[in-house]
């Protein structure tokens, strides 16, 4: 058991060190642009889920795809803010890097909010799902943007 825990800690540390080292090797502008593209993708899937739940489009069969994409993207959102990507054309606030623990908590809150939304969606009540979608949005994107994103110019 001890060996497994040591291996897990070792792998986690290696991943963190690798990500940090990798971030230093790349242009900050490219990292920022990539981050914005991924955030744009989250926004796109979010909006697609809402359109389906509101019955504005006939793509109920796409719901699982958008939800899986959102889960995957939200699961890795915290990786998109490496050291060195805090200046330039970014709307991320300094607080992301100044208060990493709070930022981590906010990302985890978003992931938990997604899990809650997912469990309501699984029950198949469309009205409850739409309500849960709105609460998920406020508790995830909304909560993180409140503390860690600047307003658009």
């Amino acid at each position: 058991m001890k060996n497994i825990i040591s291996l897990f800690i070792g792998l986690s540390l290696t991943t963190a060190v690798n990500l940090h080292a990798q971030a230093e090797e790349y242009e900050p502008e490219d990292l920022i642009e990539y981050r914005q593209e991924v955030m744009g993708a989250i926004k796109g899937h979010n909006k697609a889920v809402k359109a389906i739940l509101e019955g504005k489009v006939p793509y109920d069969g796409h719901l699982d795809m958008h939800m899986a994409s959102l889960e995957a993207l939200l699961g890795r959102a915290g990786e998109l803010f490496p050291e060195g990507s805090d200046f330039g054309e970014t709307n991320a606030k300094d607080a992301v890097w100044d208060n990493p623990d709070k930022f981590k908590q906010s990302v985890e809150k978003a992931q938990n909010a997604f899990a809650s939304f997912q469990s309501v969606l699984a029950k198949g009540d469309n009205s409850a799902s739409l309500d849960a979608y709105k609460k998920f949005g406020k508790a995830s994107c909304g909560d993180c943007h409140k503390s860690f994103k600047k307003k658009d110019d």
Partner: protein, 272 residues
């Protein structure tokens, strides 16, 4: 025996009166809490970024004129507003004048609050006085060299003479938007002297990254009622994004707590 009965009756009447009074107090505090949220007092008077105590002030408000630090509005008698009378509180909110006679900078939105009614102001005071007192001295502002108590008095005089007053048409929607919510303070552009240009009401203030929320096509003219409701309730924008920074706080602390009838009143007012 007779004396005992009179004494018991007196005690019972006193208890009933006292219960009535505490009921009235509780109602005022509850009403005050709702109005306090609608006026979004918490956001400016709490240094959230540095885990400051609620309402103890010290939050830095950056502007073109320097950094303003919000004051302590807890009922602490030495560093807060614990010694303020009702009239002190009313004068501060509608005239922007402290009990010691010094004037507040317009970073405190008294120009919007000037249309708040007396009963509502006192309800907010009742709520504030029901909150824990926190001993925390106010931080002095860090402002441009040319700003002082004297220039502030001149500014207030000029503003009274030259600037149009903040709109208020007497409707519930206007009371929430223009008075309590003080939306004009961020969303209406200002001139070089920092005076609100009410002729361009709610057309946005680029210096504050506050967007146009007028009924024009650049503003919220194309938004439907549900989109506005989702913005105020959840911070969701029509393009699937979510509001950020100060507006995120406005939604979290204030608009998401509006009663349904107030939400509808605001939507109706903004779409006129």
């Amino acid at each position: 025996m007779f004396f005992r009965i009179v004494l018991m009756l007196y005690a019972l009447i006193s208890m009933a009166a006292s219960a009535d009074e505490s009921e009235v107090d509780r109602a005022a505090i509850e009403q005050g809490r709702y109005l306090f949220d609608a006026a979004n007092c918490y956001a400016c008077h709490t240094d959230v970024d540095n885990d400051g105590a609620p309402l103890a002030g010290g939050r830095a408000l950056e502007s073109d004129f320097g950094i303003f630090f919000s004051p302590n509005i807890t009922p602490d008698k030495d560093t807060g507003i614990g010694n303020w009378s009702d009239e002190d509180f009313i004068r501060a909110l509608i005239l922007g004048i402290a009990p010691d006679g010094h004037h507040y900078y317009p970073s405190f939105p008294y120009l919007s609050y000037q249309n708040m009614n007396r009963e509502d102001i006192l309800a907010i005071k009742a709520y504030l006085f029901s909150q824990p007192a926190v001993s925390q001295k106010n931080k002095p502002h860090q402002l441009a060299w040319y700003l002082s108590g004297f220039t502030l008095r001149i500014w207030k005089l000029l503003n009274d003479l030259a600037a149009m007053p903040v709109t208020y048409d007497g409707s519930r929607g206007s009371y929430l938007v223009d008075v309590l919510g003080h939306c004009n303070e961020c969303h209406t552009p200002r001139n070089m002297l920092g005076m609100l240009k009410m002729q361009n009401r709610l057309e946005g203030n680029k210096a504050l990254s506050a967007p146009d929320i007028s009924t024009s096509k650049n503003g919220i003219g194309g938004w439907d009622k549900q989109e506005l409701a989702d913005l105020f309730r959840y911070g969701e924008l029509p393009d699937g994004d979510y509001v950020a920074d100060h507006m995120g706080e406005v939604v979290d602390n204030s608009t998401s707590k509006w009663a349904d009838y107030d939400l509808q009143a605001v939507i109706e007012y903004l779409q006129r």
